[in-house]
Structure formats: structure tokens, C-alpha cells
Point group: C2
Chain length 157, copies 2
DNA sequence: TTAATTGCAAAAACTTTGCAATCGG
DNA sequence: CCGATTGCAAAGTTTTTGCAATTAA
């Protein structure tokens, strides 16, 4: 299974860094996997707290999220106002996001040409990219329609 | 002058929104303009506090930053860890950023083709973009060299 | 006059950390 | 056994907010 493979690799990562293989760290991975693709840390803490408090405490969640980021299993993909939304990458290919500012829907996309152009820009500036994030904020299809309906009502009010 | 024009427009904006033209709000604009292109709020608060405490308090800075964002004079351009870096836009043409994770240097760039491709992606998803942010994190030219030098020393140590 | 704005201090929200107890290797 | 990890509560950060005093219109 994909998840098991990820855990094995994380185990290697931990050993290599001189860290220990603990129940909590792997329990958190399971909870992240069962929560869905995108999450915020406090959301995750609540989720774990509801499901099984014994998995890990808030501090351990924060500490483990950091480790998983270093490892590369999760990424900060959306920064909106004071919120940080993480994504469980788990081997998924790289992609960017469209974020609906009305309903919070997140749409993933990948555009090879954009990636290539970024590399080109970096070269032009003798800059060595390590990672990047492209966020497009706007209105999704459904919210756009909803707005039009509302506008209609306002107009007749 | 560019700055005066911006202030005039901001005045219109405030009036239109039913807000008042206050000394503090315009003083903050001056301070932002004199600080430089990129800033963090707490930095700005300190800057104002050092220069002339009477301009505005921390709360007013936070509240005004929000207004200026709505107005469009400033943008959240970089989100790195828990830091938010704002940019004083002031009529500057749209652009994206390369951020050196080592020294914090910020390089601005603009790539028409990337913008076009983004629009294309949005169309494909029936998504109406309102704004976007592309951050490329990595190593600037100088830091790259510095790292190579260090590696050399380590190797001979 | 009177409604918006300000400064202050308190609270909120999010994240990190010191420390004693516990656990993994 | 020893050092890393955990949970807890306390402290740090950053941002927001209630309220009385002040100011703009």
C-alpha cells in the first residue's frame, strides 16, 4: 500500500536523522491520511482529539508536522490571511491550487509550461529554486452563479 | 507626485466607503512609503514608533493595513513560515517574487506567458481569478556561492 | 452634533518551549 | 541505561477587539 511505503520511508528518514520511531509519529500520519488531502493544524488536533486522544497531544502534532514537512510528506500549500493550509503530498505529483475565496473549495492543477517558465526565470536571475507555490484566489463556478442570483434579488429589492 | 496621487485616490476610496479622512491613515501611508518596498507589520509598527510615535498606534496600523489592502495599495506578497511580508504596490505593475531563503533577498519578476497560462487554467476550470501569488523560494546567486565556499572549507577540515 | 476613529489594554488565535515523566533502542 | 520524545502548562507571537475618549464632518 502507498501509505505503508510512505511510512517505511519516513522510518528511514527518522533513523538517518537519529530520531526515534514512535507510536505517536506514525499515528499522526494515519490521522492525516484519514482526514483528507488538505488540513490546518488546529483542525488536525481537533480531529485527533475526537477520534482518539491517545494518538498525540497538540505539541506532538505541531512537532510532527514540522518533521513531516522536512521529510516532504506534507507541504504548506495555501496561505490565506492568517490561515495555513497543509497538503498531504504522499507521492502525489506536484501541482498548484485555485482557491475559492467564497466557499473555500480547492482545485488542483498542473501546467507544465508554467513550471518551465519558472525555471527559465530562475536561470535568468541565477537563482536556484528549492520550492515554489502558486495560489490563484477567486470564485469557483458554483459561487459565481450564486453571486449572480443574489445580484438579481438585490436589483429587484 | 506619485504618492500624492495615491493619497488622493485613497481619499476617494474612503469617502466612497463612508470612512473618514484622518491624520493617522495618511501618516501611515507616508511611513510605509519611506520604509521601503517590502515590510512586515510589526516592523512597520517599530519604524513608526521610532520615527514619530504620534503617527499611529499598533492597532491603527493593523486596521489601516487592512484598509490599504482593500484599497489595493498594498499586497501580501510573501508568506514564509509564520511571517507575512507586504508590498507597497503604489501603482507598480504586477509581478511575482523570488525569495532567497538564506538571506531574505527578494527579487521581483514578471513573465507575461505565466500570467496568460494562469488565465487559461482558470478558464478551463470555469474559475474567476481575483488575485494570485507566485512565490519561488530558493538560493540567490550570492548565497549559492557562499555555500560552495563553505563546502570547500568543510571538505578540508 | 454624532458617528467614525483612536489608543489602550485585554483577549484571541496560533505556535513554541521548558521541564519532569516516559519511552525507544 | 541513556538520550530522545511526550504531555502539560506556561510563555511567545501575531492579530483582533471592547470600550471610553477623541476627532472628523
Amino acid at each position: 500500500m502507498q501509505l505503508e511505503e510512505l511510512k517505511n520511508k519516513f522510518e528511514q528518514f527518522l533513523k538517518q536523522k537519529g530520531h526515534k520511531i514512535t507510536r505517536g509519529r506514525f499515528g499522526i500520519i494515519d490521522k492525516i491520511a484519514s482526514y483528507g488531502t488538505h488540513f490546518e493544524i488546529e483542525e488536525l488536533v481537533r480531529w485527533i482529539s475526537n477520534q482518539d486522544k491517545s494518538v498525540a497531544s497538540r505539541s506532538t502534532v505541531y512537532r510532527t508536522v514540522r518533521l513531516l514537512q522536512e521529510f516532504g510528506a506534507i507541504r504548506e500549500v495555501i496561505k490565506l490571511g492568517n490561515r495555513t493550509i497543509y497538503e498531504f503530498v504522499a507521492g502525489k505529483p506536484h501541482h498548484e491550487h485555485l482557491i475559492c475565496v467564497e466557499c473555500g473549495t480547492i482545485i488542483e492543477f498542473y501546467k507544465e509550461e508554467i513550471e518551465e517558465l519558472q525555471d527559465k526565470v530562475c536561470e535568468e536571475h541565477d537563482f536556484t529554486p528549492v520550492n515554489h507555490r502558486l495560489e490563484i484566489f477567486g470564485l469557483c463556478s458554483a459561487c459565481k452563479e450564486r453571486r449572480h442570483e443574489n445580484r438579481g434579488l438585490e436589483a429587484t429589492a
